[in-house]
């Protein structure tokens, strides 16, 4: 396949994948009786219409991009981290506990400290799955999923117990949340009247760090080698197990930082439902962004748009916000399916040949009476059988029937 053909082919695959994902979404939209085009229009354009919408997209994109970068590090190192949700919660707990305990520290010290605490909390939780995989070969998908459920329970336990705002107990409302963070731990808001916070710069800065780490250091090279082909990496002297654990530690740290930034920048206290599925959306963002920071940043904005848009469809198109999960699932299935078409040279070849066949000029219809217009004799009934049949049935017909005559000739020939 030539260059243009390849480009056209890849574009066609991407379009087909997008259509398939939207098609699956459309089935569900049709099932809830929504106007499909209106629903998609609301999801994709409504948030872009005002400043609040635009900034809210970015607010959602900040944790998404951080989580996705962590997941990309893990995926590149050959380990699937589904546990960002739990790692984020652990990061939130560590970060908010630190910020509340060290409230007297000045702002330039406290914010980095709280974010690092979040990273440590997430890293610890991710490291468990990494160590289990490296030491005991425990399937990391199952262990991270289980750790998600455990973290969720632990989070609720702390928010309802030891970390609960004492005032909630006094007033008796019992909302499970911590006390408000000290002002010195708050990330600054960038635009008055919106929730856009300086966590954006942290996300952008860390994107550069991830790029440098994975593609410009020998550690990153070893991690990617371990992920691309563990056996070859081992022969080359890479301690694959160690890099698996390192990848999970880093991946967890990013999810933990996402939690910390979200708390310090948006909520200013640990509440229930902060993670809100960011951990799972982060997987989609990482895949959609091609497991590369340069792709993840735009992908996180796109999914920020989807998340916000799905919230709006609830109000504007009467479609429950869970719809975004359907779209995310469909997008994952479409991406992993499309990758097969893009990366398998055999499939590309097959498609190229099929295309060549299809676009080759079809032969012009044969003029009537020509040899080509006659039916192919091999398609008609076997003349031998015809001859035999008629010879037995009616001998007078033999002379009139050329086929029978030909058959008898053939019969003689074969004998």
């Amino acid at each position: 396949m030539n260059r243009t053909g390849k480009l056209a082919y890849n574009a066609a695959v991407v379009i087909a994948a997008a259509a398939a994902a939207m098609g699956i979404g459309a089935i569900v939209l049709a099932a809830v009786g929504a106007d499909i085009f209106k629903a998609y229009a609301v999801i994709l354009t409504e948030p872009l219409k005002d400043m609040i919408g635009l900034t809210e997209i970015v607010v959602r994109a900040v944790p998404l991009s951080l989580i996705a970068m962590g997941i990309a590090i893990a995926f590149r190192s050959g380990i699937l981290n589904i546990g960002a949700e739990g790692q984020m919660l652990m990061g939130i707990l560590a970060s908010s506990a630190t910020a509340i305990a060290c409230a007297s520290l000045p702002k330039p010290v406290l914010i980095p400290l709280a974010i690092l605490a979040g990273a440590a909390g997430g890293a610890a939780w991710g490291g468990i799955a990494g160590a289990l995989k490296a030491r005991l070969g425990v399937n990391e998908i199952l262990s991270t999923v289980m750790l998600n459920y455990i973290a969720a329970q632990f989070y609720t336990f702390l928010l309802r117990g030891p970390l609960m705002d004492p005032e909630e107990l006094l007033t008796g409302s019992g909302t499970p949340q911590t006390v408000r963070m000290p002002r010195s731990a708050w990330l600054d808001r960038l635009l008055p009247g919106t929730r856009l916070h300086s966590g954006v710069f942290i996300a952008l800065g860390l994107a550069v760090v991830v790029f440098l780490l994975l593609w410009r250091t020998s550690t990153g090279f070893r991690m990617r080698a371990a992920g691309a082909e563990a056996k070859a990496a081992r022969y080359a002297g890479v301690k694959v197990q160690r890099y698996l654990v390192l990848a999970m530690l880093l991946s967890g740290a990013f999810a933990g930082m996402a939690g910390a930034v979200e708390i310090l920048g948006v909520h200013r206290r640990a509440i229930e439902g902060v993670s809100g599925g960011y951990g799972f959306t982060g997987i989609v963002v990482a895949l959609f962004g091609g497991l590369h920071p340069a792709g993840i940043i735009p992908a996180s904005l796109f999914f920020g748009l989807l998340l916000l848009g799905a919230d709006m469809t609830q109000r504007l198109a009467d479609v429950p916000a869970n719809m975004v999960l359907v779209l995310q699932g469909a997008i994952i299935l479409a991406i992993v399916s499309a990758r097969q078409f893009m990366s398998n040279p055999y499939v590309q070849d097959k498609v190229a040949r099929a295309c060549a066949k299809m676009f080759r000029r079809p032969p012009p219809p044969a003029p009537p009476g020509s040899i080509e217009a006659c039916p192919d004799p091999s398609d008609s009934v076997d003349p031998c059988l015809v001859g035999e049949d008629s010879a037995v049935g009616d001998s007078s017909a033999v002379g009139d029937n050329p086929a029978a005559g030909e058959g008898s000739v053939k019969k003689r020939g074969t004998r």
């Binding site: 699956i24 569900v28 099932a31 809830v32 009786g33 699937l80 589904i82 289990l132 005991l136 070969g137 425990v138 399937n139 998908i141 199952l142 262990s143 999923v145 289980m146 750790l147 459920y149 455990i150 329970q153 632990f154 609720t156 336990f157 309802r160 117990g161 799972f280 997987i283 895949l287 009467d318 479609v319 429950p320 869970n322 719809m323 975004v324 999960l325 359907v326 779209l327 995310q328 699932g329 469909a330 997008i331 994952i332 299935l333 992993v336 399916s337 990758r339 097969q340 078409f341 398998n344 055999y346």
Partner: protein, 316 residues
């Protein structure tokens, strides 16, 4: 409460709890024996639970109300099989990596069930569900009768399916094909077994079982539907297959172990022993991790090609 009735209570609770896990894990056993690691089980269960809930909810008070549960079960099995085929399309035909595709299917099923539920039902509503049917005669046996023979029909069916699946897997030609495509697809292919077709069939069956498992949760166990009804049971079912060494009988043992742990946790709370609720809920999940860590050390008997897509055109 004396110790005897405490244990008896755990057993009576534990047996029906194990059914959802057992049904899903039996299906997953077939999937994994065929070489496909279906993590979408959780999502299929969510869809199964939701569609099974619909007929009893909408047909209440109509002449069809009597057979609503059966319609619901049939719907759940059908939808489950359909989602299994969708997954087969992605991982068998398109040869996508199975782990991440499974997560995609899980999100899809979970999200679709939640979306449709919010739209058609709205809030948490109960349904009469499937009532217990004591087995005549057997349910009178002093202790055993209460533990084993005083449940809803699906419980009996689930446990009867264990030998059926064992026979299917180890004593029928189709079972041999399933094990062949999961262990050495190339050899199976050279003998004329259509690897993709067998994997499709296995995934359809596994999906149907997951759908039925979901239906059990919404119709027989919880008698209602909620977004988080499945609560990771699909993933636990996948882990149980490892625990049961890809053998239906072992899987049953695993399902019982888990449900007894869950019943123990509930009984502890009921008995008023002071123990944070959240830690009690964590128990089964912690148990999964511990079990997976221990199982690994045992000799592996599983399908060697688990999780690897098969490409008959590939040169080796």
């Amino acid at each position: 409460m004396n110790a005897g009735s405490f244990v008896l209570n755990i057993l009576i609770l534990g047996v029906p709890f194990s059914v959802a896990l057992l049904l899903a894990a039996l299906g997953e056993t077939i999937n994994q024996r065929a070489g496909i690691f279906n993590l979408g089980c959780e999502g299929i269960m969510a869809m199964g639970a939701f569609v099974a809930f619909l007929p009893p909810f909408f047909l209440a008070g109509t002449p069809l109300a009597g057979s609503a549960n059966l319609i619901g079960l049939a719907l759940a099995i059908g939808v489950g099989a359909l989602l299994g085929v969708l997954f087969a399309l992605v991982v068998v035909t398109f040869r996508a990596p199975q782990g991440i595709a499974g997560i995609g299917l899980q999100m899809l099923g979970w999200g679709a069930a939640g979306t449709l539920f919010r739209h058609y039902v709205g809030g948490v509503t109960g349904v009469p569900g499937i009532q217990p049917v004591p087995v005549p005669g057997l349910s009178r046996i002093p202790i055993l009768g209460k533990v084993l023979f005083n449940h809803n029909p699906l419980v009996y069916i689930a446990f009867l399916l264990v030998p059926v699946f064992w026979y299917l897997l180890f004593k029928t030609p189709w079972g041999l094909k399933v094990r062949a495509v999961g262990t050495y697809p190339r050899a199976a292919d050279s003998l004329g077994i259509r690897v993709s077709r067998v994997r499709y069939q296995a995934l359809a069956l596994g999906g149907a079982m997951a759908g039925l498992a979901g239906a059990y949760l919404s119709l027989a166990q919880a008698k209602m539907f909620a977004d988080d009804l499945i609560a990771g049971r699909g993933f636990i079912a996948v882990a149980l297959v490892y625990f049961g060494r890809w053998n239906p009988v072992g899987v049953m043992g695993g399902a019982l172990l888990f449900s007894l742990a869950q019943a123990l946790q509930l009984s502890i709370q009921v008995a008023g022993i002071n123990f944070p609720y959240e830690f009690a809920v964590m128990l089964p999940y912690v148990l999964v991790i511990v079990v997976l860590a221990l199982v690994r050390k045992a000799k592996m008997v599983g399908p060697t090609e688990l999780g690897k897509p098969f490409d008959r055109e590939q040169r080796i």
